[in-house]
């Protein structure tokens, strides 16, 4: 449904998206995960024809976004991070405007609007001015405008950003309900959100796709690695050198606790708990705590971004 090959976007000398290639099949719900500034929004803006790629190709439903822009746009619904809404319009009136703008035949507009209102649970506010709605409702209207013309593909940029916990649950439900009828591509920098909503994850870092796969596949990549969290009392340099001296251990990060202790996260290919404990004690430091950290998506993300940074160096 969506396929990119070596898609690149430069802003002057800055490369925001760097040779990105991926494929999304029909009916999938794919999450684009990355830190702020990773290039997610630029990538989505290229797919929705808001920006032209510097090089590479992006095909949507078999159509090139650069060569068949109008056809691509008619097959897509897009919700940017800030919902694009005309505040002076009523919700129903706005959806009717968007449906017509996106080519829905006049006779079918009321049915399309009703469908969008139902799916986004907006019937209560259909006759309300948009600028009087709360942020959560505005986001819902943003989703409704993206699906009102029933496009095969829906692209959502940070759909849950700025929502409160209750609204997040509702939004999650709403996005899940989209997947039956639409292929969904959404971006977020919140790991938990992506894992709960999407079938597959594309991890983006510094303009590149650092990894892709299902949550299980990404976690599987870490199956052969172990992470330990070690709390040590003593000199930082000494602690780091002691940990480095333990064979096969690499330090992920070091932070200082309120009580003056050091919290060090280390990683290794096999179980090195005994070796790490011995190295610390042998170097005269006090070992306060040693915990094996369970792998989660966050660990995958951290590892991928660290790996990506090491590669770029």
């Amino acid at each position: 449904m969506i396929e990119t090959k070596k898609l690149t976007k430069n802003f002057g000398r800055y490369r925001a998206v760097d040779n990105v290639s991926f494929k999304i099949e029909q009916g999938e719900c794919v999450g684009l995960l990355g830190l702020n500034g990773a290039g997610k929004t630029t990538l989505l803006r290229m797919l929705t024809c808001l920006l032209a790629p510097t090089s590479g190709t992006a095909m949507v439903d078999g159509l090139d976004v650069a060569g068949s822009s109008l056809e691509v746009r008619s097959r897509m619904g897009f919700l940017p991070e800030v919902p694009p809404l005309y505040g002076e319009m009523l919700v129903g009136q706005f959806l009717s405007f968007v449906a017509r703008l996106r080519g829905v035949a006049s006779s079918s507009v009321p049915e399309h609007v009703k469908n969008a209102l139902d799916r986004c649970q907006l019937n209560d506010v259909a006759q309300q001015r948009i600028d009087t709605l709360s942020y959560g409702y505005r986001k819902r209207v943003g989703i409704a405008q993206a699906i009102v013309h029933r496009p095969p593909i829906v692209v959502l940029d940070e759909p849950i950003a700025g929502l409160d916990p209750a609204q997040i649950v509702e939004m999650r439900e709403m996005i899940r309900n989209l997947t039956g009828e639409h292929t969904v591509l959404l971006s977020s920098h919140i790991l938990g959100e992506i894992s709960q909503t999407c079938d597959r994850i594309l991890v983006m870092h510094k303009g590149k796709i650092a990894a892709q796969g299902t949550e299980e596949q990404l976690l599987g990549n870490l199956a052969n690695t172990q992470r330990l969290s070690v709390r040590i009392m003593g000199d930082r340099a000494k602690a780091e050198s002691a940990l480095k001296s333990a064979d096969g251990v690499s330090i992920l990060d070091v932070s200082q606790g309120h009580d003056g202790s050091l919290l060090v996260n280390v990683q290794s290919a096999k179980d090195v708990r005994a070796r790490v404990a011995k190295a610390i004690v042998d170097s005269g430091l006090d070992l306060l705590e040693l915990t094996q950290v369970k792998h989660d998506l966050e660990a995958v993300f951290l590892q991928l971004t660290i790996k990506s940074e090491e590669n770029s160096e």
Binding site: L70, R73, F78, V82, P84, E88, L101, G103
Partner: protein, 241 residues
């Protein structure tokens, strides 16, 4: 065409619903009324045709200024609020977007201009008005207003803020008005060419006098076309930035 009309209707509705629309209409009507009394009618006896001539002169100024205020928001506001992405991700050609917005703004300007018709009617109380003269003057106002709106539309398509848009628009508008001065001081045939391109002096005068020349109509329509095409190119270039 239906999408042009759709965009135009929304634009007209948005202007009518916005405080800016009311402020522009109220200000223009108040200033037009004052200048009609103080300048066009004046304190000395005049022929009705002279009153109309001065009246259209006054209205041409307020129409040009109002056009800039009406058009400044067309793209700059959408850029500020982020709604531009709604239009640009819809299957609508950039030229249709520009023309639709222009038509919406023009309809608002036309509505505002029609309201001023009561002033020529007031001349009828003590004088004799030629309806041909009134028609010619109003046609000229709409053409001049349309040309000014197209300049404002172009300026708005360039800017990310409405304030910047109005400054760019005002600069182009004033420069185009002052071309008559440049033309007067330039050697022929260049002087003649430059004078011809002046927005107001040569082309609006005949409308004020009650005359309609095809060359003036063509000139204003050409200005509109030029700036609307330029605005379309500017909108297209956004995708390449």
């Amino acid at each position: 065409m239906s999408k042009v009309w759709l965009i135009a209707r929304r634009e007209l509705g948005a202007t009518l619903m916005s405080p800016l629309g009311f402020v522009v209409v109220a200000s223009v009507l108040a200033i037009d009324g004052l200048l009609f009394n103080l300048w066009a009618l004046g304190s000395t006896a005049k022929y009705s045709a002279e009153v109309l001539y001065d009246y259209f002169y006054v209205l041409s100024g307020t129409t040009m200024v109002a056009s800039l205020f009406i058009s400044m928001r067309l793209f700059a506001e959408e850029q500020q609020t982020g709604t531009i992405s709604l239009i640009l991700t819809s299957p609508v050609k950039d030229a249709q977007v520009v023309f639709g917005k222009f038509v919406g703004a023009f309809l608002f300007l036309a509505l505002m201009t029609i309201i001023t018709l009561y002033m020529p009617m007031l001349i009828m109380v003590h004088g004799k008005v030629s309806w041909g003269h009134v028609f010619s003057g109003y046609l000229g106002l709409l053409l001049l207003g349309g040309a000014s709106l197209s300049i404002g539309t172009f300026a708005s398509s360039m800017a990310k803020s409405q304030i910047v848009a109005i400054f760019i628009g005002a600069t182009i508008l004033v420069a185009m008005i002052l071309l008559w001065l440049l033309g007067r001081n330039a050697d022929p045939p260049l002087g003649k060419v430059v004078s011809y391109m002046a927005l107001h002096n040569l082309h609006f005068r005949s409308f004020m006098e009650g005359k309609i020349h095809l060359r003036d109509v063509v000139f204003y329509l050409s200005v509109c076309t030029f700036f609307l095409v330029a605005a379309t190119r500017m909108l297209e270039s956004r995708r390449w930035r």
